[in-house]
Amino acid sequence: MLSIEKFGFSFWRGDNWDPVSGDFGALPFLWGTLYSSILALAISTPVALGIAIFISELCPSGLRAPLVFLTELLAAIPSIVYGLWGIFVLVPVVRSFEVALPDSLREIPIFSGPPLGVGMLSAALILAVMVIPYTSSVAREVLKSVPIAQREGAYALGATRFEAISAALYYARTGIVGAIMLGFGRALGETMAVTMVIGNTPQVTTSLFAPQHTMAAVIANQFREAADELYLHALIEIGLVLFVVTLIVNALSRLLIWSMKPHRQTAKARATVVKNVAAA
């Protein structure tokens, strides 16, 4: 592959994407993909876990089916519809927020940058909403597989709901991590909704307001017209790395989730429940 021959690993260290001179550095896309996905995870994980816990542990049984249906609906909405809503509804709202931010806060690097509306913040928000149903449905499944004796034991010892659920979460921790990683894998590969709201500008910056770019979005934008072989191979190399990274993340998450299947009453789990209650 021409881009590997020409650049080797420095392809991923360079931040200069210049089709004119044939100098390709893919760091901005790697940065944008990772930054947007990690931000999306940070926003979505607490919400998704909260939903999973609510549905599996706390909610009245009549509400359970409708809530499950509604969260799955979030997953069913096509990404182009998210993108459409993003352009016309989310971006103006984010822009007014960015414009209204007091100037004193603009000194902080993450709030620097022009208040365009399109940019990392909008992309992270949309990705977060798209990822929530994936993480929450797997987390729900994982919590279901925690043996009921665990919880009943905790309550019998006088645990509050928080303590009992924490014990269940601890027991299910590998599966929960797997659920989070699944969401991560989903966010890494999302193309359309992101390219419509992120601003499509390759740059490496921590600013939430600045327009940035992701690996999936640059392929969608530039693949059809990479006019020379080096350009095309550079884009294909980006696609290849995206493929491998999502492969690894998804495989890891599957392994973690599968490891939850056999029911294991570990001494550690029992000890945790006792510890939490005894601390009271």
């Binding site: 929530i132 193309t191 693949f223 493929f243």
Partner: protein, 283 residues
């Protein structure tokens, strides 16, 4: 020693946060549906369903070519994915526990997670470049590849659920293994498998990225398999990023049609699963 009051407060806050997260997740959902339905309905009219796009900048026209395009692409994808998906599912269910079955399951699950843009690039390389033609077939192939894992896993899980007595009964009557599976077990699992297929359809009907490099697009009404074809998703994308008000309106209408298709499929799947569960429980 932490007081009971403290523990109870923490617990109560936790429960409140949990409930709050449900609301937080439902807000964007309501928001999106509100806008899609609100703005989409205004633009839905007979012209939208029967007309084709007008020259750039002129008001009017419709998306009939895109709607038919999506239906055709989904149909082509199903024709490709259903046989392969079901056969893989059968293999995984019949040879449960073997390494090959686990390997296939792993492969199906990872294929599920491959970004759709990567699949689009792959299919461009194998189905567009060699034939020097963007086509509905290539688009259908890309969508089909995405359907396979969903159908395979659903088939496998449902086949496992079929009581082994059915399979054993067929074998006892002298059927070969293959016959037992295909004439007895599979039909028993059929309703559930159809549900899985419907869910897969709903998922790919909303895909855009893989179609950008395979089916390309077409402003005319066509049902040809070897020509580029329009699709709701790509058309909505093109209209959304344009500066024309009329095209924005049509984009919302297209989004409404897409969401309706997906909603109908999901409701169908849910009702079907519910009835299947009731049948299985014997009520």
């Amino acid at each position: 020693m932490r007081g009971t009051l403290w523990r109870k407060t923490v617990s109560w806050l936790f429960v409140a946060f949990s409930g709050l997260s449900v609301l937080i997740a439902l807000v964007p959902l309501a928001f999106i549906l509100f806008f899609v339905v609100g703005r989409g309905i205004q633009a839905l009219n007979l012209q939208f369903f029967l007309g084709t796009p007008k020259p750039v900048g002129e008001v009017g026209g419709g998306m009939s070519n895109a709607i038919v395009g999506t239906l055709m692409l989904v149909g082509l994808g199903s024709m490709f994915a259903i046989p392969i998906g079901i056969l893989s599912g059968v293999y995984m269910a019949e040879y449960q526990g073997t390494r090959s079955a686990s390997a296939i399951r792993f492969a199906a699950d990872t294929l599920n997670g491959v970004p759709s843009i990567v699949i689009g690039v792959f299919v461009y390389g194998i189905a567009v470049l060699p034939f020097q033609q963007f086509s509905a077939l290539a688009g259908g192939l890309a969508l089909g590849i995405m359907m396979i894992p969903i159908i395979a896993r659903t088939t496998e899980e449902l086949l496992i659920l079929v009581p082994s007595t059915m399979r054993e009964g067929a074998l006892a009557l002298g059927a070969t293994r293959a016959r037992a599976v295909f004439t007895v077990v599979l039909p028993a699992a059929a309703p559930g498998i159809i549900t899985g297929v419907v869910l897969a359809l709903a998922r790919i009907a909303g895909e855009t990225a893989p179609l950008l490099f395979t089916a390309l697009g077409n402003q005319y009404f066509t049902t040809s398999l070897t020509q580029p074809i329009a699709s709701l998703t790509v058309q909505v994308y093109a209209y959304a990023i344009s500066p024309y008000e009329d095209w924005h309106r049509q984009a919302w209408a297209g989004a409404l049609v897409l969401v309706s298709i997906v909603l109908l499929c999901s409701i169908f799947a849910r009702v079907a699963t519910h009835r299947l569960e009731r049948m299985a429980r014997g009520t």
